[in-house]
């Protein structure tokens, strides 16, 4: 099914300014986050900055990926600000070749997650506001210096998270008829659509063109800034669903097509702007960070999590949380994945016999199969906060109006409006983790069938064991009592 052909929704998405409309809404929300974060009460449950980011933005981001696709990149307000900045200063440089890829984005993603835990950003409205301002500033600076969507493709931590999660989305932008693309000579989907200043131009304009004082062609719609050429585009990695390709294509040959979530992770075709997935160690690393960070992030909010931190502090002999968290992150995001997947790679080579891949190549190939499980855990975690706190925005808004105007113009804050009871959400969380694990089991099996057709069952065993271990760990974490710490753990 082509979502762009649906009544109402399709018409809206095909409207040239649909993205800007979404971006404007999120820009207003971001402005509220910044203003209330900087100037509102500094108690996290009573401030829009912390409530909207920790509860609604994180939860709706992951839920919308599952329901529709990478909507939060579609509506990213930073691009609106960046576009405005480019009206003043047009970028002249290209992002250096040696800095391309996902490594910088992974580092920034880990840094943000680390800072979130170290500084307990969920409890600090003013710091959250400054983080948002910093994000906008970084996106603006990078993209007015470098052309294309450099910040989105190579740097944005949220973008890297969204690209990975959107491999599980039910939709994908793809061409309708490849034969139509074969006859296309202009490649508008990636180059953009231009209009010539032909004979119908005003005489004054034609003279200015002849004298080189005015451009001969005008760009009326840009193409894909992330370098995805639609006839060869596969999957959602690096796709921000900006819909520029849809608006640029003169043959109306691009669809927002429904698809099987996760199936793209088995594709071996060369992908435009990406290459072959099995040869992208950086994207495999991103998949593993995405997966294992889901467990680290959830674990850090539990009573055993704090107990582990305390033991680590005593072992190391420190009084500061930073080295303890460093150890935890290094173990969770580096040691554990390397040990588990490295062992699985060696065992597969031993069990399957005649495997044409090295252990490293096996790790890269099977890393993508972990994404559904990671997605399930993120959905369980962020979904919990969304479901249990979705209504808190109402009393916080009411309170913000009282702070601003001195009168309860929206009524007295209804602080009892929170959301579902945690006990009611727990079965949903379990179900999401189990579904994610089922997806990973399926992908492991399918990868083994693809790569080891002579011995798929033996080849898949170590990887299935990893998914089982991770699933057990996730279910154990979800069953632990939560402990919300905000002040420095060490006093």
């Amino acid at each position: 099914m082509d979502v762009l052909r649906l009544p109402l929704l399709g018409s809206f998405l095909r409207w040239r300014h649909s993205r800007q409309a979404l971006q404007l809404v999120l820009l207003i929300v971001a402005s509220a986050v910044v203003v209330h974060g900087l100037f509102g009460p500094q108690l996290a449950p009573r401030n829009l900055a912390t409530v909207l980011t920790s509860i609604h933005w994180r939860g709706l981001l992951i839920v919308s990926v599952l329901a529709a696709g990478n909507l939060f990149c579609t509506g990213c307000p930073m691009i609106l600000v960046r576009d405005a900045g480019r009206r003043l200063y047009h970028p002249a440089l290209r992002w250096p070749r040696r800095l391309r890829g996902k490594w910088l984005g992974i580092a920034l993603m880990v840094l943000v997650l680390f800072a979130y835990e170290l500084f307990d950003l969920w409890s600090l409205p003013r710091a959250t506001a400054w983080l948002v301002i910093g994000y906008f500033g970084l996106a603006l600076v990078v993209d007015v210096v470098f052309s294309g969507a450099t910040f989105c493709k190579h740097l944005c931590p949220i973008g890297q998270f969204n690209f990975t999660a959107s491999t599980m989305a039910p939709t994908e932008l793809r061409v309708v008829d490849v034969a139509t693309c074969r006859s296309c000579r202009t490649a508008d989907c990636i180059k953009g659509r231009f209009v010539d200043r032909g004979p119908e131009s005003r005489p004054g304009d034609r003279r200015l063109v002849e004298r080189g004082l005015q451009p001969a062609r005008t760009l009326v719609q840009r193409g894909c800034e992330l370098g995805l050429f639609l006839p060869v585009k596969v999957g959602n990695i690096d796709c921000t669903m900006c819909l520029d390709c849809v608006h640029a294509c003169p043959r109306d040959n691009i669809a927002l097509a429904t698809r099987v979530p996760g199936a793209e992770l088995l594709e071996t075709r060369r992908r435009s702007g990406i290459g072959r997935l099995a040869q992208r160690t950086d994207i495999a690393a991103l998949a593993l960070v995405f997966t294992f960070a889901s467990l680290v992030s959830a674990f850090a909010m539990t009573t055993p999590g704090y107990a582990v931190e305390q033991h680590l502090a005593e072992m190391i002999g420190v009084h500061s949380e930073a080295p303890v968290l460093l150890v935890l992150f290094a173990f969770g995001l580096l040691v554990a994945p390397l040990v588990l997947l490295g062992s699985a790679g060696l065992i597969t080579r031993g069990l399957a016999g005649g495997v044409p891949f090295t252990a490293r190549e096996l790790i890269v190939r099977y890393a993508f199969a972990m994404i559904p499980f990671g997605f399930g855990v993120w959905l369980a975690h962020y979904g919990f906060h969304l479901l249990t706190g979705i209504l808190t925005v109402v009393p916080v808004l009411q309170s913000a109006v009282i702070d601003a105007f001195g009168h309860a113009m929206l009524g007295e804050p209804a602080w009892r409006w929170v959301g579902m009871q945690p006990g009611s959400v727990f079965p949903i969380q379990l179900g999401l983790v189990v579904l994610g694990a089922a997806g990973s089991f399926g992908l492991v099996h399918a990868t083994s069938l693809r790569d080891h057709p002579s011995a798929p069952a033996r080849a898949s065993m170590p990887w299935l064991a990893i998914v089982a271990i991770l699933t057990t760990t996730a279910l154990w974490i979800l069953a632990q009592p939560m402990e919300m710490r905000a002040v420095g753990f060490f006093g």
Partner: protein
């Protein structure tokens, strides 16, 4: 080849963003008034101290004005909020015990960091907000 980007809605969007920012700033400045809470001091007493998650907590607070006179007749409420947004707060009304002393009964439902927030109106119609942090509340045992 020279390329000029065709006019888009960006200038309209930029204008809208600027108007929004000015409106938000005006709203904030309208809210910048002297806070009556600054004229009131609150002395907290908790039983048990330190408080325990899952158990009953009696919070007593003595309100005094800047001349150390008891603040009587207040219509006050107490919220127990956790440090993480979205967690269910615990709510109670503060009962006046005379001489500017108020008392509320709560039950902190979870281990972690809590903040007790006193809000309400005092005679004269002024709204006050006072709070006390309860870090590291543990469960019993």
């Amino acid at each position: 080849m020279h390329v000029r980007v065709a006019p888009r809605a960006h200038s309209r969007v930029l204008r809208a963003a600027l108007i929004l920012t000015c409106a938000a700033s005006a709203a904030w400045m309208a809210g910048c008034r002297s806070d009556p809470s600054d004229q009131i001091t609150a002395e907290w007493m908790l039983d048990p101290s330190p408080p325990v998650a899952g158990g009953a907590l009696v919070a007593r607070v003595a309100l005094r004005d800047n001349a150390q006179r008891p603040v009587v007749g207040g219509k006050l409420h107490l919220e127990g909020q956790m440090s993480h947004p979205g967690m269910t707060p615990v709510l109670s009304d503060l009962i006046e015990r005379g001489n500017g002393n108020y008392e509320a009964h709560l039950k902190l439902t979870m281990a972690g960091d809590w903040v007790l927030v006193l809000t309400g109106e005092i005679p004269g119609g002024a709204r006050i907000t006072k709070q006390i942090e309860l870090p590291g509340v543990r469960t019993a045992g």
